[in-house]
Amino acid sequence: MWHSGSSTPVAPLALQSLDHSQLYQRRTHQMGDGNDPRTEEIDNLSPSTGDYEDLSEQDWADAENSLSSISISSGQMSYAKPTRPTFLKLSSTNTPALFPTRSVSETSSPLYMHENSSNSRITGNMSLGNMFCSRCNDGFEPHEKIVNSNGELWHTQCFVCAQCFRPFPDGTFYEFEGRKYCEHDFHVLFAPCCGKCGEFVIGRVIKAMNANWHPRCFRCESCSKELADLGFIRNQGRALCHECNAQEKAVGLGKYICHKCHGVIDEKPLRFRGEVYHPYHFNCASCKVELNSDAREVKSRPGFTSNEMNELYCLRCHDKMGIPICGACRRPIEERVVTALGKHWHVEHFVCAKCEKPFLGHRHYEKKGLAYCETHYHQLFGNLCFVCNQVIAGDVFTALNKAWCVHHFACSVCDQKMNQKTKFYECDLKPVCKKCYDKYPAEVRRRLRKTHEATPKKATV
């Protein structure tokens, strides 16, 4: 407290405003090349409203050759960048002396001063008669407390926030376009809001995608990685990390993504257990050599059908072991090999699951991983008639992936009975007699011809 007539030395109050050029200096000092004595004071006193970082970005289209060059601009360039908004503009006369600190100069300190103060450095060329309040332009009463901030004078009641007209808490104010604001109102009016969470951004501000962000809030829209220190790529209006962008690009180009490392596979992929990989992630199960895309996946080894038992061999080892093993006796097959049900068989070991007679090249039917002769397949599983949906007792008409009983094998359009001699056409795997087919609009027939070679068919009985 200072009273009139007090001889107590005038101590400066922490009145200050914020200037990005000062922050700029602070940063350079922190980076090791500064020796400005103000810097430490500023660090202590400055209520930083954030320094801005423009994150560079690049569109997919021109990202082709220069993906690695995308980076975040450093602190130095953020202030100088012509594109960033310069809303924290301070008049140039203010700038050099703006940050009042003990260590720099008391003359620039805003302070309460008594008319009779002996502080001649401030009042040396002033007298009460030519001193006017910067706000109301009135003069000052003798003995009245006067606020001096950076050479400008105010009545104490006039030295208030331009928005709320209240004194500045702790004497801290922010100056913008010649007006002074309390911290609260400055934030409300001018501080950037985060494009994600909507909160004010205090501290490091990331400028990217035409908005401001907290570093924690600016993330890859695909994998949510923080992007502030990684850089990003704009992809169809979204910010993506390099990996996610590369993956999208690969998918867009029809390239495969490695199931192990999630990287793009530029060469031929290696297929293994239903997925695709870079071949170099695997070694030959036999000779242990690192594999290339010529490697062979050996499926359905004797006794196993599941994918999980598959193994990879280099081409040389695969050729060496290329002797098939019979799925029944598990011995190598030297002569004729029958391949069915995903396994290899000796001709005489591929048999009906019911009567155990070998098929010897005759037709077999598969059901639930087992093979049956015609007799036993029908006996056990009885075909259902497509029309009556009953098990077919007598003769079965089989065609078009369907079966019919003798009563119901008919044209699906006109219901006229057909037999094994009747030629019919196919539409959606239903039989259509020639008379009906000829009544289809030409345009439909043309399409049916194109999609299923509309040759007349016959049923097998």
């Binding site: 998918v251 219901d415 439909v444 999609t451």
Partner: protein
């Protein structure tokens, strides 16, 4: 007034249909063949709606526009074939037919199905091919038709299939050939008994990975998917064979591609077929 409502109908046509009816009545044959008789109205088939003993009625290749609600009096009818007529609307009563198992309405001029259409108690095969139907044509209860074994919707105007399709638990055959389909719902993967899926001639670029759950590669199964603008990896697999497509859509790699494709989806591919000259477009209102 002395009205003669049937006077405009040429008598030869009349007698053709009437002759079949008379024969059926005297022989007691419950299966009635009235295809290609030039019939344009049920009035040309006097007494038909009282023949409640018949089990099959075939009226293909006629010119019938209106179906009278009284058709539902044929309570023993199991098979009703109305293929290639000029039908624009169906009576609500149709879905009350207690024994109807097979209903063929292919090649007509239907723009919609009547309310309550899903109420058929035992319908197994429904053929609506070559009409003017789309996803808005289904009444609310359509997908309670869980007795359905086969649903033929080829040559219509569907761009989407409602996800409720997954409720048709007994469906073994689903034909969506030559529509305007932009995507399929993942719920098709719920149709565990499906063994025929026809989706050729649409605007599909990807398949929901859930289709990989279905058994569409056994020797009793059919998946027809040509003539779609598939994404390159699917098109590549399709060239080697359907089983390769199925193997591929079952992979993690494909799940990843699919999720990406859905999230960056561009505009749908253009329509594949010009349908302006479809017969089903010739409605009397035009």
């Amino acid at each position: 007034m002395n009205q003669a409502p049937v006077s405009c109908i040429p008598s030869p046509k009349m007698s053709k249909a009437k002759k079949v009816l008379d024969e059926a009545r005297s022989s007691g044959n419950p299966e009635l063949d009235l295809m290609e008789k030039g019939i344009s109205s049920f009035e040309e088939m006097p007494g038909l709606l009282n023949m409640s003993n018949i089990t099959r009625l075939t009226l293909s290749h006629n010119k019938i526009i209106d179906i009278p609600p009284g058709l539902a009096n044929l309570v023993n009818l199991e098979i009703l074939t109305l293929f290639n007529n000029h039908i624009e609307e169906l009576p609500v009563s149709l879905s009350s037919m207690p024994k109807l198992r097979i209903l063929n309405l292919g090649m007509n001029r239907l723009n919609s199905l009547p309310r309550g259409f899903g109420a058929f108690p035992v319908l197994e095969v429904l053929d609506l091919s070559y009409n003017n139907l789309n996803e808005e044509s289904f009444p609310a209860n359509f997908f309670i038709l869980d007795t359905l074994r086969a649903l033929y919707l080829g040559d219509n105007d569907f761009e989407f299939i409602p996800p409720e399709i997954g409720q048709l638990k007994n469906l073994q055959i689903l034909v969506l050939r030559d529509n305007d389909l932009i995507e399929l719902p993942k719920e098709i993967g719920d149709l565990t008994r499906l063994r025929e899926l026809h989706i050729q001639g649409n605007r599909l670029t990807v398949l929901p990975p859930e289709i990989g759950q279905l058994d569409l590669v056994s020797n009793k199964s059919v998946l027809k998917m040509d003539y779609n603008p598939w994404v390159a990896p699917i098109a590549d697999q399709l060239q080697v064979g359907i089983s390769h497509v199925i193997d591929y859509i079952r992979s993690e790699t494909y799940r990843y591609l699919f999720s990406r494709h859905i999230s960056v989806r561009g505009p749908p591919p253009p329509k594949y077929i010009d349908k302006t000259n479809k017969l089903s477009r010739n409605r009397k209102s035009n």
